[in-house]
């Protein structure tokens, strides 16, 4: 996918409630990627020119894991803000806004797409 091209993916909405950990509000996962980063080193992306934001680690039993986020998910939107063409720092800022308690993510996952394809394929075309 290059910038400017339209694409269609299967997405899932995930709502994570932030957890108070001392002085900070944490979500329990780590992100990698961004338009200022090197996309070739991303182990989760299919297309090695994809500069989107990916979930690289999930803390055990954190809010993100309980909400259904998985490692390798690509985050498309956070609370309505687009995350496909942002720098790494901008992505971090959008996720760690102090006045927000809840983040609503739009994520896409390879396994999601394949599941949909399988289910579509099992129904005969009309």
């Amino acid at each position: 996918m290059s910038a400017g091209q339209a694409f269609a993916v299967v997405v899932q909405r995930i709502e994570i409630r932030k957890l108070r950990h001392g002085d900070n509000l944490i979500l329990g996962f780590s992100i990698g990627g961004g338009i200022d980063q090197d996309p070739g080193q991303n182990p989760f992306s299919d297309d090695k020119t994809d500069k989107g934001i990916y979930v690289t680690r999930i803390s055990q039993r954190g809010p993100a894991e309980e909400a259904g986020l998985r490692m390798g998910d690509k985050i498309m939107q956070v609370n309505g803000w687009d995350m496909t063409m942002v720098t790494h720092d901008q992505a971090r800022k959008r996720l760690t806004k102090k006045n927000e308690d809840v983040v609503r993510l739009l994520v896409t996952r390879k396994s999601l797409e394949e599941a949909v394809k399988h289910s579509m394929g099992s129904y005969p075309r009309q």
Binding site: F29, S30, I31, G32, Q37, R57
Partner: protein, 536 residues
């Protein structure tokens, strides 16, 4: 030495004359020392031998030895050979007082050969000196003859003319030194055919001189020319032309083959050692000569003892395969021959197994011996050191010179060294004296025990060992193309000596296209590729 052997096609003898004196006994010594199976002639006199003795020398017929017969001598010592092969030579009779012994006949032949040898070696020198004398004497003759023959009618020599005398003198001196440097040295090898360029240059020089003499004789001597200035100028022009011919000689003989344009790949037939050399445009015989000089420097010493193992395997292989069916195809013999064939096949199958275990065992043995040797040598070297200032008042019996020191520490390592050399089958290339000499050399030059040992752990280049070990003295060049023709891409020729041969293949050095690329110093710029991970 077979000076009268038949020539086949273009093969010629080319001898490597490394020794300056031509005593026959030197090479006689060499024959006695080498136990090689393929030495050409034995020089022991004929004796009556019992049939099972291994030392059969030369075949004789009717009581007279045959001088031209090459005789293979039986191996003494470590190789297990068939002891009864002496019976296959022709009839043996003892020497009588009337017949001359083999030694004398060989000595005669050698004398004749050595005389032709030195003749061939010094012939170019003789020709060079004659031509040189002629070249030097001619201008002087041109100048002196008018003064001798018609002095009264000769015009006086002015200042310009005397200046020309000076120039002739210096040019002749330069020509003399140049000729000495280029031509007047004893040849370092005797090649089968005359070098084309040398012959051409000699002819050119003689032609030049003769034409000048002719001109001089007709126009000056006959006409009794009085203009001495003109005569001197004529002599100067001769010396100039001779200098230019010498320049041509330098370019053709020395400079042309300095620039490499061919690559020769040389492979030895016995063990496959291969080396590559870059050589310039030479004739085949000159290329063979320079390759032989590289051979003596680079190739490890030829060791016939290492080849016996593969020969035994080959013999066993052949013995296993021969299945003769003498009585024709009969049903009774079918089973027998089938059994023999399967037995042969089984033997063939186990041959590689045997080889594998033999080689593994050999490596282990060599490594064990080597370890013992290294320890023995290191221990021996700790017993001796250089005398320092404070040792001067030590007991006089402890102070010794190099030779005695070497002799003192030699026995402690001698056994280990000898066992190691026997295991690697190189014991015949190192004698006791040579080892002691090398030890003394290492002690004088403060070498470490490892440095001393290196000479024995690996076979060194052939030149290191001295002429009696080379086993390759007389070389024959076998070539399909003419040996005075130049080498070309794809030429092949063979350099044969008694025990092995060197196969030489010539390839051209590729034409290299080199282009340049301009690099601006400011163009060296870099970007940083980040991959950060942030936890949120």
């Amino acid at each position: 030495m077979d000076t009268e052997s038949t020539h086949s096609g273009y093969s010629y003898h080319s001898s490597r004359s490394g020794r300056s004196n031509r005593h026959g006994d030197r090479s006689r010594e060499r024959h006695k020392a080498s136990g090689s199976k393929d030495s050409v002639r034995s020089e022991r006199s004929v004796v009556i031998n019992p049939p099972d003795s291994p030392s059969q020398d030369s075949p004789v017929h009717n009581g007279e030895p045959l001088p031209g017969e090459p005789t293979p001598t039986a191996d003494e010592g470590d190789e297990a050979q068939d002891d009864n092969w002496g019976e296959t030579t022709t009839a043996v009779t003892g020497t009588s007082e009337l017949s001359i012994s083999q030694e004398e006949v060989v000595g005669l032949g050698k004398e004749m050969y050595d005389r032709t040898e030195s003749f061939r070696r010094y012939l170019p020198l003789a020709v060079g000196s004659c031509v040189g004398l002629l070249v030097l004497a001619t201008p002087l003759a041109f100048l002196l003859l008018p003064a001798v023959m018609w002095p009264d009618r000769l015009q006086a020599c002015g200042a310009a003319c005397e200046g020309l005398f000076l120039s002739i003198a210096f040019k002749l001196l330069i020509l003399l030194m140049a000729m000495w440097a280029l031509f007047l040295k004893p040849g370092r090898a005797s090649l089968p055919r005359v070098c084309v360029y040398r012959a051409f240059l000699t002819t050119l020089t003689l032609l030049l001189t003769m034409s000048y003499w002719l001109f001089y004789g007709v126009r000056i001597l006959d006409a009794q020319d009085e203009d001495y200035h003109g005569i001197v100028q004529f002599a100067v022009s001769l010396v100039d032309s001779q200098l230019f011919v010498h320049y041509l000689a330098v370019v053709l003989l020395e400079l042309r083959h300095l620039q490499p344009c061919y690559s020769a790949s040389v492979m030895r037939s016995t063990d496959g050692e291969t080396r590559q050399y870059n050589i310039g445009q030479l004739s085949i015989q000159k290329a063979a000569l320079s390759i032989l000089e590289y051979y003596y420097r680079d190739f490890p010493l030829h060791n016939p003892a290492l080849l016996s193992a593969s020969k035994h395997r080959a013999a066993k292989h052949l013995a296993g395969l021969k299945v003769y069916n003498v009585d024709g195809a009969q049903p009774g013999n079918g089973n027998q021959s089938r059994a023999m064939v399967t037995a042969a096949a089984k033997r063939k199958d186990s041959a590689h197994n045997e080889l594998y275990y033999e080689e593994a065992d050999y490596e282990r043995r060599v490594r064990k011996r080597r370890a013992r040797l290294v320890v023995a040598v290191e221990e021996a070297f700790t017993h001796v050191r250089r005398m320092k200032k404070e040792d001067e008042h030590a007991t006089p019996s402890d102070i010794m010179d190099v030779r005695e020191a070497a002799l003192a520490i030699f026995p402690s390592m001698a056994r280990a060294l000898q066992k190691y050399l026997r295991t690697t089958r190189r014991q015949h290339s190192h004698s006791m004296e040579s080892i002691q000499k090398h030890l003394a050399f290492c002690l004088v030059n403060n070498m470490s025990p490892k440095a001393f040992l290196e000479a024995y752990l690996a076979p060194g280049p052939t030149l290191q060992y001295g002429p009696e070990r080379w086993m390759a003295d007389q070389w024959t060049l076998v070539s399909e193309a003419s040996v005075t023709g130049g080498i070309k891409e794809g030429s092949e020729f063979l350099l044969k000596c008694l025990d092995f041969s060197l196969a030489v293949t010539i390839k051209g050095i590729p034409y290299i296209r080199l282009t340049e690329e301009y690099v601006d110093l400011k163009s060296h710029k870099f970007i940083l590729l980040l991959q950060s991970e942030t936890s949120v």
